[in-house]
Symmetry: C2
Subunit: 332 residues, 2 copies
């Protein structure tokens, strides 16, 4: 018998389709032609030496011979850095000028790498760059919300192979983020606790959905995970906003994120994935009811009409089996 599980964060029910569930191994990329990825590609705008192919950098972590991480405005920015935020209201219609920030963070000079293959210290540096750019964007008076995310592979929406992340700072708080803030506020008012701290406690006690624990972070599959192998990495210490982490936590996150992604990489043969930092906007620093985390979403299945039309997801795998499978993938 299938099961409907309630996702406490999104408030959506998820169908765990036990009858249609696949074994973890079946999600590995099969039949995909293996090709060696070169460390340098002459036509790649993110490879060292090709810096002129992108807009001038806004931030860089220097190396003895060049750079470790390089940040530039997105050449095909979704929002304009220039201009003022203007609102237009006419009847039921609302419009805002599309101002904001859209940056690309080139994570390493090496074209062939992906997060799973970097060193812990390299991922830590990327996290520190996220912090820098998050704070920079949040300081812009036109900006209400900053979204940090990574698209890896074509199914995840990128055509650029060179490892990179992105930041989009928007002149509004999105309805999705606002809804989650309100839901967790109601939980705090009703139960006097952070919903996310409670969720993490339950998961650590049960253990069946925990994937990897480090000193400051826990990576796990949610009880009502929306899709196969989707995971969250949550800080043990209560913090509403990503920029509240300290240096020790940033280093630990670098390690946890690298290992968690390496488990996916080796266990499922380098699947396409997105990850995103789900944080409250900067102005929420210190609130007791929200708790930031990282969502990792492997793109192993497709959204179809039912999901688009109802908002309800059908997960064709078992969260407990996903977690057990990933725990058993040994990573250095």
């Amino acid at each position: 018998m299938p099961e409907l599980r309630h996702n406490v964060i999104t408030k959506e029910w998820v169908i765990i389709a036990t009858e249609r569930a696949k074994r973890p191994e079946e999600f590995a990329k099969k039949n995909k032609e293996k090709k060696a990825i070169p460390t340098f590609v002459a036509t790649c705008p993110f490879c060292p030496g090709n810096e002129k192919m992108t807009p001038p950098e806004t931030y860089v972590v220097p190396d003895t011979t060049g750079w470790k991480v390089r940040v530039t405005p997105n050449k095909f920015a979704a929002l304009s850095y220039e201009g003022t935020r203007e609102r237009f209201v006419q009847g039921i219609r609302r419009t805002i000028s599309g101002v904001g920030i859209h940056e690309v963070m080139v994570e390493t000079p090496d074209h062939s790498k992906t997060t799973a293959l970097l060193r812990d210290s390299e991922v830590e540096t990327i996290i520190q760059v996220y912090l820098n750019r998050f704070n920079f964007a949040s300081a812009d008076s036109r900006v209400e919300q900053v979204t940090l995310f990574k698209n890896h592979g074509e199914a995840a929406g990128t055509s650029l192979e060179h490892p990179h992340s992105q930041l989009i700072a928007t002149p509004v708080i999105t309805a999705q983020v606002r809804d989650r803030l309100i839901n967790s506020l109601h939980h705090f008012d009703e139960f006097g606790e952070c919903l996310f701290c409670h969720l993490m406690d339950v998961e650590l006690k049960e253990g069946t959905r925990v994937v990897y624990e480090t000193r400051h972070f826990v990576s796990m599959v949610q009880y009502a995970a929306l899709s196969p192998f989707s995971m969250i990495i949550m800080p043990r210490r209560h913090m509403a906003c990503f920029p509240e982490i300290n240096d020790a936590e940033a280093a630990d996150l670098g390690h946890n994120l690298r290992v968690t992604l390496a488990k996916l990489y080796y266990g499922l043969d380098n699947p396409d994935f997105n990850y995103v930092v789900r944080t409250a906007p900067a102005e929420y620093k210190g609130v007791k009811y929200y708790h930031w985390y990282v969502s990792i979403i492997p793109r192993l299945t497709k959204l179809a009409g039912f999901e688009l039309g109802s908002g309800m997801f059908i997960n064709v795998s078992l969260p407990e089996e996903n977690a057990r499978f990933l725990r058993e993938v040994k990573v250095d």
Copy 2:
């Protein structure tokens, strides 16, 4: 300068990325190998003569020599038709037994057809079958919500080529549907009008986003369309629920849906798409604040980390240009 537009139905802001916008022609399927689709495939479970490959039919529209439309339980059902609805509550965790209805509606015996290529009367018959199955499912006391949808093509989440739609009846009302009901209720309380009737009035007056008008329905691109060429087909008469339509309206919808999809088919070279009937659940029949409609979502772009992480969509096309382009596609 890009523009943020507010989608009045979803309450989400959408980035209309004017700087990255593509011309309508660029969304046509290019380089895709053309292959003739046969009218009959021996291994297809939905082709006539292969009825034993599916579970026994639950409903059929007979033809002189066989059937016009055939409904069966989904062989790989997401929910179980057998069993009772049981709820389990433990701490923050909620679970419901996965009971419900999951049916497949084979739309025509002809394997090679798609909605765009059917006759109006055939699409009308499909609409009448939707009505029958919607009412059948809604009468089940375990069912709270019925979702009717179609997946066309691989990017839309189907691997079966034979034209078919699906129905999933769930034992809960989804958060997405509940949120839209509440939003439109608030609009009604505040302005004394149906939000959707108002929206349609505005669009008909402006005309720039209208794609196709018939006696009882209007197909149009929304001002804040979430993705390229996504459209809605809305009944002119105020109705909260899909099963409130009469026979004349069902016939007119058959024609409007066929022509609207044919404009996509010929204009963009048979793109993959989903459509879904966005209706209030049956118990809402007659309410003044909700208004059902059909959403058509061509799958021309991919969801990436930003959309998943923020809930905000980036539309790389202009709704007004989409509509103009489709208006100019001549269809018999």
